[in-house]
C-alpha cells in the first residue's frame, strides 16, 4: 500500500513537472490561433501601491473594451486575466509563471515596481511571454536588465530628469536649493540637476539629502530658508513628499521662493491630499491628459465613461502599453510572442501620446516628456503643460550593457 502511494506521488509530481514544462515552451494554452489573445495583469492589490495597481488595470480594461468592440486585434478577441501580487518580486514571478503555464497568457502587463520587472525580465525568455512595463522607471531595465521579451513603455528616470533639465532655464529663480531623498534616485537626480543648473547659469546654494521615511523636515526647511535660496528642486516621494510640502507651507517657505520644482513629487493622486498649497508648483509630467490628438481624446472619453473620472499617468501609461502590444500583433499578423517581439523593433505608431517609436536596441518606447505647473481648474487642481521635451532630448543612447 505504502509503495503504491509513493509511486502515485512520484507519477503525479512527474506529470505536473512535464505539464509545466510543456506549458512553458508552448505557452499557447487556450489562446492558440483563432482563440482569444490572453494578457495577464499582475498589479499589487495590497500595500501602499494598491491604488496604482487598481488604476493600471482600469487602463487595460478600457483599451481591451475599445479593441474588442472594434473587432479585436488582428481579428482576434483580447482576454484579460487579472491576477494579484503584493509587489514582492518573488510573488510576482510566481504569479507570472502561473499565468503563463496554467492560464495560457502570452503577454504580461500592470506589473508595478522596478525590482519586480528586473526579476521578471530575467525569466521572460524561459516563459516565452512578453512583458509591457508601464510603471517601473529604473534605467537598468533598459540596461543590464533588459530582455528581448520586455518592452519599456514608460519613461525612464533619466528621461524624466532630462526633461526637467531641458526646461530649467525657463524657470524663475537663480539660487537653487536641492532637497532630495537619500537614495540612489535622489542622488542621481541631484547630479543631473546640478549639471543642468550650471549649464543654465543657475547657482546651487544648498544640496541636502533626507533619509527615506523622514517625518520631520523642520531642520531641512530651516536650512533652505537660511541658505537664501529663491528656488527649490525637490525629490521626495509618497509620505515624505506630503510631509515636506505640508511643513514647507507651515514654515512659509513658499514666500521666499519663486519656484518649487518637484521630481516625481506631486502627481494627480496626491492633489486632493496636498490641496491648494501646491498651486504654482512645477513637476515632471509623463502624460498630458489634454493631449491634442484623436487617439487621446477617444481614450479620455472612453476611460471617463468606464470609470467615472479622467485618467492620469498610471491608467494612461497602461493604456499605451496595450496600444503597443496591439500595434505589435497587427504588424506581426500573429500573436506569437516571438513574432510580436520582432515586429515591434523600430515600429512607429500613433498613440495617445502622439507618434511613438519602439527603439529596437533596448525596447524603450520613444515618447515626449513634459514640464507641468499645478493650476486651479475650478475647485480642483490639474497640471498645465508648460513645455514638452522630445525623446531626442530626453532619451540617453542605448546602454551597451543591454544585449537583445
Amino acid at each position: 500500500m505504502k509503495r503504491q502511494v509513493v509511486a502515485a506521488a512520484v507519477a503525479l509530481a512527474m506529470g505536473s513537472t512535464l505539464a509545466a514544462c510543456g506549458s512553458a515552451s508552448e505557452n499557447s494554452g487556450d489562446g492558440g490561433e483563432g482563440g482569444p489573445i490572453k494578457v495577464a495583469l499582475i498589479p499589487p492589490t495590497s500595500g501602499a501601491l494598491a491604488q496604482f495597481g487598481t488604476d493600471a488595470v482600469k487602463g487595460w480594461e478600457t483599451a481591451v473594451r475599445l479593441a474588442n468592440e472594434a473587432g479585436g486585434v488582428d481579428g482576434r478577441e483580447i482576454e484579460l486575466i487579472v491576477k494579484s501580487t503584493d509587489a514582492d518580486p518573488a510573488t510576482t514571478l510566481r504569479v507570472a509563471k502561473e499565468a503563463v503555464t496554467q492560464d495560457g497568457a502570452q503577454f504580461i502587463g500592470a506589473v508595478m515596481t522596478s525590482p519586480e520587472h528586473a526579476a521578471l525580465n530575467a525569466q521572460l525568455e524561459g516563459l516565452g511571454a512578453l512583458s509591457f512595463n508601464a510603471l517601473g522607471k529604473d534605467d537598468a531595465l533598459v540596461g543590464e536588465q533588459c530582455s528581448p521579451y520586455a518592452f519599456h513603455v514608460v519613461q525612464t528616470s533619466s528621461m524624466d530628469i532630462n526633461a526637467l533639465a531641458s526646461s530649467l532655464s525657463e524657470l524663475p529663480g537663480d539660487k537653487w536649493a536641492i532637497q532630495a531623498v537619500d537614495y540612489a534616485t535622489g542622488h542621481g537626480a541631484a547630479e543631473k540637476f546640478k549639471a543642468a543648473a550650471e549649464e543654465a547659469g543657475k547657482e546651487i546654494v544648498l544640496e541636502q539629502f533626507a533619509p527615506l521615511d523622514t517625518t520631520d523636515f523642520g531642520s531641512y526647511i530651516t536650512k533652505i530658508k537660511d541658505s537664501g535660496a529663491d528656488a527649490v528642486f525637490a525629490v521626495e516621494y509618497g509620505a515624505d513628499g506630503v510631509a515636506f510640502v505640508q511643513q514647507a507651507d507651515q514654515f512659509n517657505l513658499d514666500n521666499q521662493l519663486e519656484t518649487v520644482l518637484g521630481f516625481n513629487m506631486v502627481s494627480e493622486p496626491l492633489f486632493e491630499t496636498l490641496g491648494d498649497t501646491i498651486e504654482g508648483y512645477f513637476n515632471n509630467v509623463g502624460y498630458d491628459v489634454d493631449g491634442d490628438n484623436t487617439e487621446n481624446q477617444e481614450f479620455v472619453d472612453a476611460y471617463t465613461e468606464d470609470h467615472g473620472a479622467a485618467p492620469y499617468y498610471v491608467p494612461a501609461d497602461n493604456y499605451l502599453a496595450a496600444q503597443t502590444l496591439f500595434a505589435g500583433i497587427e504588424e506581426a499578423g500573429s500573436a506569437d510572442p516571438a513574432d510580436v517581439s520582432e515586429a515591434l523593433g523600430d515600429l512607429s505608431f500613433d498613440s495617445i501620446v502622439g507618434a511613438v517609436t519602439v527603439r529596437a536596441a533596448d525596447h524603450q518606447v520613444l515618447r515626449d516628456s513634459y514640464l507641468g505647473e499645478v493650476v486651479k481648474d475650478g475647485k480642483a487642481l490639474k497640471f498645465s503643460i508648460q513645455s514638452n521635451a522630445t525623446p531626442d532630448v530626453t532619451t540617453p543612447e542605448p546602454d551597451s550593457a543591454c544585449s537583445m
Binding site: T215, G218, T222, K223, G238, Q246, Q247, Q250, P269, T273
Partner: protein, 284 residues
C-alpha cells in the same frame, strides 16, 4: 546653530515626550512593553483626521484621547489583567499582534493613501519668537506638551492616585498588600497611557503626513526613549524624549545620515554608563 533649529528640536522632543510618557506609565505598572503603542498613536492620528474633517481640530483634541482611553480600558480588562501572570514576552507578543491588526483596520477604514490634516486657522502661519519666524502650530505643540508634562508630574506627586501609581510602579505586590487597589490603579494608568498616545497622534496629525506605517516609524524611537529615561519612569521618559528630540535635530543639521543612528547610539551609551536609565528607579 540658530534659534529655529533649537525650536525644531524642542518641537520634536515635545511630541516624543507625550508619546513616551504614556508608554513609560504602562511599562512601569504592568511591566509590558506595549508594542501596540505606535498603533494607538497612528489610530489617534487617523481618528483626528476624520473628526477635524467633519467637525474641527479642537474637538479632535478632546475626543481622540477619550476614544483611546476607552480602548485602553478594553486593553486592560481583556488582555493585561487576565494575563498579568503570564510572561512579559507573551504579553508583548499579544500587543505586537494587536498592532498588526490595528494597522490593517486603519487601512480598511481610511485606505492606504497618505492623508493630511490642516491645523486650525488660528495656528496656521508663523509667529516671530527669539528673532526668528517659526510655525505657530509647532510652538503650540511645545506649549501643550510642556503644560501636560507639568500637570502630569504635579498629579503624580501631589494626588492620592498619583501616590498609588508611584507605589504600584515601584512594587505592585507590596502596594497591593499595603491596601492600594492595584486593579483600579492599573485601569487608570493603561487608559491614561492610551489617551496620551491618542493625544500625541492628534498633535502629530497636522505636523507630519498620515500613513499606516507612521506608528512603526515612531515606536522604535519611543521604546528607546523609555529605556534611556529609565524603564517605567515617566519623568525620565519625558526628559529623555525632549533630550533625544533636540540631539537628533541638531545632528540632522550637521549630518542627516548620522542623525539616523543617534537614538541607537544614545541607547548604547546610556545602557553602558547607567543601565537603569537616566532616572533609575524614580517614577516621576
Amino acid at each position: 546653530m540658530n534659534a529655529a533649529q533649537v525650536l525644531n528640536g524642542v518641537a520634536l522632543g515635545s511630541l516624543l515626550m507625550v508619546l513616551s510618557s504614556g508608554l513609560a506609565m504602562i511599562y512601569g505598572l504592568r511591566g509590558v512593553a506595549n508594542f501596540a503603542h505606535g498603533a494607538l498613536y497612528m489610530s489617534g492620528a487617523y481618528i483626528a483626521y476624520t473628526v477635524s474633517d467633519r467637525f474641527n481640530f479642537w474637538l479632535a483634541i478632546l475626543l481622540v484621547p477619550l476614544a483611546l482611553a476607552v480602548i485602553g480600558v478594553v486593553l486592560e480588562l481583556v488582555f493585561f489583567r487576565p494575563l498579568q501572570h503570564r510572561s512579559h514576552i507573551e504579553l508583548g507578543l499579544i500587543t505586537f499582534g494587536l498592532a498588526l491588526m490595528a494597522e490593517r483596520i486603519v487601512v480598511l477604514i481610511w485606505g492606504e493613501r497618505t492623508l493630511r490634516v490642516t491645523p486650525p486657522e488660528i495656528l496656521q502661519g508663523t509667529t516671530t519668537l527669539l528673532g526668528v519666524e517659526y510655525p505657530t502650530y509647532r510652538l503650540s505643540i511645545i506649549v501643550i506638551a510642556l503644560a501636560l508634562a507639568a500637570a502630569l508630574v504635579l498629579w503624580l506627586r501631589g494626588s492620592r492616585v498619583g501616590l498609588h501609581i508611584r507605589a504600584a510602579s515601584q512594587d505592585i505586590e507590596t502596594a497591593g498588600i499595603m491596601g492600594v487597589n492595584v486593579d483600579r490603579v492599573s485601569l487608570i494608568v493603561v487608559s491614561l497611557g492610551c489617551a496620551l498616545a491618542g493625544l500625541a497622534g492628534t498633535l502629530a496629525a497636522p505636523y507630519i503626513a498620515l500613513d499606516p506605517g507612521m506608528g512603526n516609524a515612531f515606536l522604535i524611537t519611543v521604546l528607546i526613549v523609555v529605556v534611556v529615561g529609565g524603564i517605567g519612569s515617566i519623568g525620565g521618559a519625558m526628559v529623555a524624549g525632549m533630550g533625544l528630540g533636540v540631539i537628533q535635530t541638531v545632528s540632522t543639521v550637521w549630518s542627516p545620515s548620522f542623525a539616523v543612528v543617534v537614538p541607537y547610539l544614545a541607547l548604547t551609551i546610556v545602557l553602558l554608563w547607567r543601565p537603569t536609565g537616566l532616572a533609575g528607579k524614580r517614577v516621576s
